[in-house]
Every structure is written in structure tokens, then in C-alpha cells.
């Protein structure tokens, strides 16, 4: 019995990997334009459509398909866009019934759109369902006023998905045209060179005259989007771990010191073995999260948090060990392993670090006793 991805998955993955491998490693990393070009390259190749369910005009939306491709993007940091943005956009856009939103989805699925998701205002990543950005009702719809932080890909986005507080309180999801007047952006980069922007909205008009989702429904959608994005982020990190191990083995076999290859030294062999062990268990916790992602919100959230705790912790150590095994070149931007490490550090902090998710698991309301949770069935993702 072989647990392998299906033929279609394998085909698609191979295509994405080829694309990722073809992109040159830029020592300077991304600027906004280069990031936008990378987004287009992968979105047009089908990665955006993959994040969207078939009923929404995409061709999957299944967490394991997304994870499989996320791992490919994570193998090549500095050349690939952040898939968690695509996942967030796909889930949030799927909640809207308006024709304008349907058109956006269609463009997104075809890889012709670059939405940015303005959901974060600082602080607790899962506490963003009570935003400070205020929605005000006007004669012909809503305007938004307030600030968002670190919006990934915002300066080159053609649409902004924004969370805001509704006039009668409660969460509302809106779409804003970034070209509209009264949107101020200040672009900067994260430490792994991901381009982001802080955004100030001043009575900025929303695209549709109603929120694309509101109240409890909007809250549930946002949490679902965050959980799925977190799982995709973890899968990307895992791809980086796999790559780091492969790079390390290659390096140890090639690099000569003391008159023989480093691969001859048992201390280094065993360090690679420990990296494999950690990565193997990291892959397993991803499977668990994918299985739970089909289920109810509470076990799904708990599984996503467990996944983040395990993968962010082990990625720091595994990719950090890979960096160490490379010696001096490990810390240069001319060689991939340093990019992997930088990306893993940013991943480990974005959307809540391990301590944050441990606290979330401990807090009442999230049942962290995994033994009674019905683990769903997950189609398999084999190691690259």
C-alpha cells in the first residue's frame, strides 16, 4: 500500500516546483514589484485557483492540496509569494454573494487579481474580530476609517479585503479599491523581505453597498480563514524544512575539511538525523491539522494552534541546524539556506508565535484534549 499524492496533484506540484526552481535567488530579496511579479507567476499557474473551491470558481480549496503546493512555495523563499494571503483572500471572498464579489473571485481564480487582506491591527492575531477600523453607513453604502498594519502585498494589490467594525457593532467584511481616493499606504518589508504596508483609511468608500459578510457569520468566516491560512503557512514552513535537510546533505557530501567530506563525521550525520526526525513529526502534525480543518470550528482552531506550535518550534531548530551545518555560507544571502532560515523566523512569528498558540490552547473554550476529537480523513501528501 502506497500513500502517494494523486496523479493530478503530482502533475501540478511538479509544475509549481519547476516554476519555483526557475526563479533566480535574488540576494536582495523582494521589492514590491518583484513580489507582485512572483504572485502573478504562481497565481496564473493555478495556485490562486487551487485555494478556491470549485463551487466558487476555483479547482480545489482542499487543505491538503493547498498544503502540498504551499510546501513547494516554502522550498523557494525569495522567489515565491506567501500562500497564506491567497488562502485568506479565497476564504473571505467565498463569503460574498454580490455580483461584484463574484467577478473578483473569478479574476482571482484565473490568477488575474492580487488581493491584499487588511485584517491585522496589532496585538492578538485571533482577537482581530473586533477591529478599530470603523465602517460608517452613507447614502450609497459604507465608508471605512482607521488603520491596518503589515498588510502583505498591499502596495501592488488591485483589491483590499478589509475587516471593520459595523455601525451597530459586530464585524463586517468589506472590499476596497486601493486606487480609490483616501487610502494612504506606507510600504516597508518584513525581515524576510516580504513587502507589506500600513494602511490608513479616511472615509474610504467600500466597493459594494453592503458588507460581503457581517456579524457572527463574518466572525466565523474570519476565524476559518485564519485557521486555514495558518495551516498553509505551516505547510510552507515545512517545505523549507525539507529543503534545508536536502541542502545540508548535499553540502556535507561536497564540502571537504580535514581531508575528507564533512559527511564522514558522525556528529554531523546524527545532527541531520535529528533534523529528519523533527521534520517527520512536523509533517505529521500538519496532517492532523488538515484532518481537523474539515471539522467544527473549535477542534479546527485547536489543531491549527497545535500545528503552529510544533512546526514553528521545530522549523527554527531544523533550519537553524541546516544553517549551522553550512558554516559561513549559511549566513549569506547568496545561498538559499539563509533565506530559508529568515523566512522560518518570520513564519514563526506571523499569525502568533508558539507561546501565543500554547496560551490559546490552554485558555478555556479551546478543547486541547485531542484524544476525543474526531480526526477526519485526510488525503495524503508524501514527502518531496
Amino acid at each position: 500500500m502506497n500513500v502517494m499524492p494523486s496523479y493530478e496533484q503530482e502533475e501540478f506540484r511538479t509544475g509549481v516546483r519547476r516554476l519555483a526552481d526557475a526563479a533566480p535567488l535574488e540576494p536582495g530579496g523582494f521589492d514590491a514589484a518583484r513580489y507582485a511579479a512572483a504572485w502573478s507567476r504562481f497565481a496564473e499557474a493555478g495556485v490562486a485557483g487551487l485555494c478556491l473551491a470549485p463551487v466558487m470558481g476555483g479547482f480545489s480549496g482542499a487543505a491538503e492540496d493547498v498544503a502540498l503546493i504551499a510546501a513547494e512555495l516554502g522550498r523557494a523563499p525569495g522567489a515565491t509569494p506567501r500562500i497564506e494571503t491567497m488562502v485568506l483572500a479565497a476564504v473571505l471572498l467565498s463569503s460574498g454573494a454580490e455580483p461584484a464579489i463574484a467577478r473578483l473571485r473569478e479574476k482571482f481564480a484565473a490568477g488575474q487579481s492580487q488581493p491584499a487582506v487588511a485584517w491585522f491591527e496589532g496585538g492578538d492575531p485571533y482577537g482581530q474580530d473586533m477591529p478599530q477600523v470603523q465602517a460608517t453607513r452613507t447614502d450609497d453604502g459604507f465608508t471605512l476609517t482607521g488603520r491596518k498594519m503589515a498588510v502583505i502585498g498591499a502596495t501592488t494589490a488591485d483589491c483590499l479585503i478589509v475587516t471593520a467594525q459595523l455601525p451597530a457593532r459586530g464585524l463586517g467584511l468589506f472590499v476596497v479599491d486601493p486606487a480609490a481616493a483616501r487610502v494612504d499606504m506606507r510600504g516597508y518589508r518584513l525581515s524576510d523581505t516580504t513587502p507589506v504596508a500600513d494602511i490608513v483609511f479616511h472615509d474610504t468608500p467600500a466597493l459594494t453597498d453592503r458588507p460581503i459578510a457581517e456579524g457572527e457569520h463574518a466572525r466565523a468566516i474570519l476565524h476559518k480563514a485564519l485557521d486555514h491560512a495558518l495551516i498553509a503557512q505551516c505547510a510552507a514552513t515545512l517545505g523549507g524544512m525539507d529543503r534545508a535537510i536536502n541542502l545540508s546533505i548535499e553540502h556535507l557530501k561536497t564540502r571537504q575539511q580535514f581531508g575528507r567530506p564533512l559527511a564522514d563525521f558522525q556528529a554531523l550525520q546524527h545532527r541531520v538525523a535529528d533534523m529528519f526526525i523533527a521534520t517527520n513529526d512536523a509533517r505529521s502534525i500538519l496532517y492532523a491539522a488538515i484532518a481537523a480543518s474539515r471539522g467544527d470550528a473549535v477542534p479546527r482552531a485547536a489543531a491549527a494552534s497545535r500545528c503552529k506550535v510544533k512546526i514553528s518550534t521545530s522549523a527554527r531548530s531544523v533550519i537553524g541546524d541546516a544553517l549551522h551545518l553550512h558554516g559561513g555560507i549559511g549566513i549569506t544571502t547568496e545561498y538559499p539556506v539563509g533565506h530559508l532560515y529568515r523566512r522560518a523566523m518570520v513564519d514563526s512569528l506571523l499569525m502568533g508565535d508558539a507561546d501565543y498558540h500554547l496560551a490559546r490552547l490552554e485558555a478555556g473554550g479551546v478543547d486541547w484534549r485531542m484524544d476525543e476529537q474526531p480526526a477526519g480523513v485526510v488525503e495524503c501528501l508524501a514527502r518531496a
Partner: protein, 385 residues
């Protein structure tokens, strides 16, 4: 496409297993197992008969040999539920090693006799592999089995032999050919433990229990038919066992048993240990799925690497869980597990009895079953190939 995880049928099966264990497992046996987990066969034999009657005595065996022919997921469920119910390990060498190797390589006569005897619990086995000079380096073992007419005469010394005093037979790895390279001249031979020339000396381990032994073999005479399969093929058979039973050292049941106990032991304690419990749960969950992935045959290309990873992880998790337990139990855990103190001292929590002893026993998990460094070398060799 292969699916991973539990289906509705699997959840129904879990209920069936839970019901069986709840209704059939004698509470006093479960209590005994929870306390020290080195039960004697007189304690476990009646239980094994119950399992045999249900058709579940040999969970890892295929139907053709009298096993339940469970799927990977069913076996996984069984392991977890069995451990959580404090059901005792029984005749693990017979069920886990002798049975599978005889089913694969044994003569028809050996199959006819031994497989049923193992299922019914009529024969208990101990494992005679390690020697004073051959621990991790198994190929260097010195015990010799010399051909003498229709017999073999076995002389040597085995060590770390669990339950030797309780076993009917030993599955002994001995050198039958001195002319070839070390791995090539080994045979697997079944020795009756009451044969003249066998002396068992118990070793008291740091857990305070005499479960392991030295076994001295002084010209033990057995017929040639005691050799499993063919002579000189012992190394091949041992390697077969490693691949056939790749999840043998995953200790799923024991780990889940620890988690259950830790949830109770840490209730009402401070945030630090409760946070460590959450972390342990996460790591056990990951390990759970790693075991399932190996059992489903995922990653066969890296099969050796994944199975070796299971052993390293499981042994480290067991020790971590045991450490947390004695910390959670506090001063009570300090007391030696002989039942005296808990009867006399009112400050000793009865639940603590035997828990330090168990931790001290499981400390050996990084050593036995192929030391963790052996596993790490297997992983490297598989990856770097």
C-alpha cells in the same frame, strides 16, 4: 488516492474495542498493570485466553496465520485503546517476533505447532539476542551452536533477557558458521528453557524489579529442527523482523496511558507543568500520526528512516512523560515501590506507587531495541544514499 485518518467505520471499531476492554478486562489486572507493568504470565494468561477467544490475541498477524487482519488504522486504534485501558502486554516476544518469523520462514511443522500455541498463550518466549559483548553491535555475538549429528549444541551467554524465568522457550541468535563474515553465520534457534545446561540469573534493575536476566547456555542440546527456517539465515530473519515490525517500538499505548494519567495528575497544579503537558500532547499527537504514516506504507522510499525516527521519538517521549509524572506527583513519587510506605505513611499518595519505578524502567528505552544512535545512523544512511 490513499487516505489517512479515521473513517466512520474506524470510529465504530474504536467503540467496539472500548466496549470489549471495558467489559472483559479484569479491573484487578488493569490495576496491577497500571502499578508496575511487569506482570507475570500467571497474571496475564487468563487475559490472553479471553483475547484469543475474541480473535484479538495476535493483533499484528494476518488472517491466514490466525490474526484479525486489521487495517493500519484499526491496529493503531487497538494500540492506543489497549494502552489506555491499562491492559497488560503479554508474550510480546512470541506475538511480535517468533510468530511473524515462523510464519514467514518456518517449516510447515513449526508453523503448525507454534502459531496456534502462541495465539492460545500456551507457549511464552524470551529473546536471546544481546550478549555481554554484543549489544548494539549484534553481529559480533559469540554464542555458538555446533552441529553434532542430528543436534545442535549451544554454548554462550545472553543478557538483558526479559522474563527469562517466566518463558517456556528462548528465540536464540547463535553462530552456526564460523567460516563466513560475522552477519552471515547466524541462526535463529528455539531453546526450551528447561533444557539441561540453561541457567537463568535475574538482574535487579534500577526500577527495583527483577524483570531482566542473564542466561547462561552450557552445551544446551536441541534437535536440528529447532532452527527456525534455514541455518545461517538468522541475520536475514532478524532484519525481516525489523521491517515487519517497524512500529514495534512506537509505544503508542504507553504514551496515551501516560497522557491520561498526566491529565489527572496535573489538574490543579501550576501553569508551568500544565503548559508542558499541552506541549507533550502536541508531540504525542504528531508521533501518533507518524506511526500511522509508517503503518500505511507512506514514504516507503524513506521507510527505514521513518521507522527509526519513531523509535527515537517514542523513547524520548516516554522518558519526558515519566519525568513529568513524578514531578506532578511530588514527594509521594520518591518512595520506593514496594507497597510498604503507601500502607504506612499517610503522606504517600497511593496513585504514586510504582510511578518512579516505571520511569526508571523506561529510561532504558533509548538503549534497547537498537540504541538511538544506531537509529540515527540508519536515518543518515538512508537519507544520504
Amino acid at each position: 488516492m490513499q487516505k489517512l485518518g479515521y473513517s466512520a467505520e474506524d470510529f465504530a471499531f474504536r467503540e467496539e474495542v472500548r466496549t470489549f476492554l471495558r467489559e472483559q478486562l479484569p479491573p484487578e489486572l488493569a490495576a496491577l498493570e497500571a502499578q508496575h507493568s511487569h506482570l507475570k504470565r500467571r497474571d496475564t494468561d487468563p487475559w490472553q485466553k479471553l483475547l484469543a477467544a475474541r480473535g484479538w490475541a495476535v493483533p499484528n498477524w494476518p488472517k491466514a496465520n490466525g490474526g484479525p487482519d486489521w487495517t493500519a488504522v484499526q491496529r493503531h486504534i487497538w494500540d492506543v485503546e489497549y494502552g489506555r485501558a491499562n491492559a497488560p502486554e503479554y508474550n510480546i516476544i512470541g506475538v511480535g517476533m517468533v510468530g511473524p518469523v515462523i510464519a514467514e520462514f518456518g517449516s510447515d511443522a513449526q508453523k503448525a505447532y507454534f502459531l496456534q500455541a502462541i495465539i492460545k498463550g500456551d507457549l511464552h518466549f524470551c529473546q536471546g539476542f544481546s550478549e555481554p559483548g554484543a549489544g548494539s553491535d549484534l553481529a559480533s555475538l559469540k554464542t555458538r551452536a555446533l552441529r553434532d549429528g542430528e543436534d545442535y549444541v549451544v554454548t554462550g551467554q545472553k543478557i538483558w533477557t526479559s522474563h527469562a524465568a517466566d518463558a517456556d522457550m528462548m528465540i536464540c541468535l547463535a553462530r552456526t558458521n564460523m567460516e563466513v563474515k560475522p552477519q552471515a553465520g547466524l541462526s535463529m534457534i528455539l531453546l526450551p528453557m528447561d533444557a539441561p545446561g540453561i541457567t537463568v540469573r535475574p538482574i535487579r534493575s534500577i526500577d527495583g524489579i527483577e524483570s531482566i536476566n542473564e542466561v547462561f547456555l552450557d552445551e544446551v542440546r536441541v534437535p536440528a529442527s529447532a532452527v527456525i527456517g534455514e541455518a545461517d539465515m538468522g541475520w536475514t530473519y532478524a532484519k525481516f523482523l525489523l521491517t515487519a515490525e517497524r512500529t514495534h517500538n512506537a509505544y503508542l499505548g504507553m504514551l496515551h496511558r501516560y497522557l491520561d494519567r498526566l491529565r489527572i495528575a496535573t489538574a490543579g497544579l501550576g501553569p508551568a507543568i500544565r503548559r508542558r503537558l499541552v506541549q507533550l500532547e502536541i508531540d504525542v499527537e504528531a508521533h501518533d500520526w507518524s506511526v500511522l504514516r509508517v503503518r500505511l506504507g507512506e514514504d516507503e522510499r524513506l521507510g527505514g528512516a521513518s521507522a527509526s525516527a519513531l523509535k527515537v521519538t517514542a523513547s524520548e517521549l516516554l522518558i519526558r512523560a515519566g519525568m513529568m509524572e513524578v514531578e506532578a506527583l511530588g514527594p509521594s513519587a520518591l518512595v520506593e515501590a514496594d507497597g510498604q510506605a503507601s500502607a504506612l505513611s499517610n503522606w504517600v499518595d497511593r496513585g504514586a506507587d510504582g510511578k518512579m519505578s516505571q520511569l526508571l524502567y523506561w529510561r532504558a528505552a533509548t538503549i534497547f531495541g537498537g540504541a538511538n544512535e544506531i537509529q540515527r545512523s540508519i536515518i543518515w544512511n538512508t537519507l544520504a544514499r
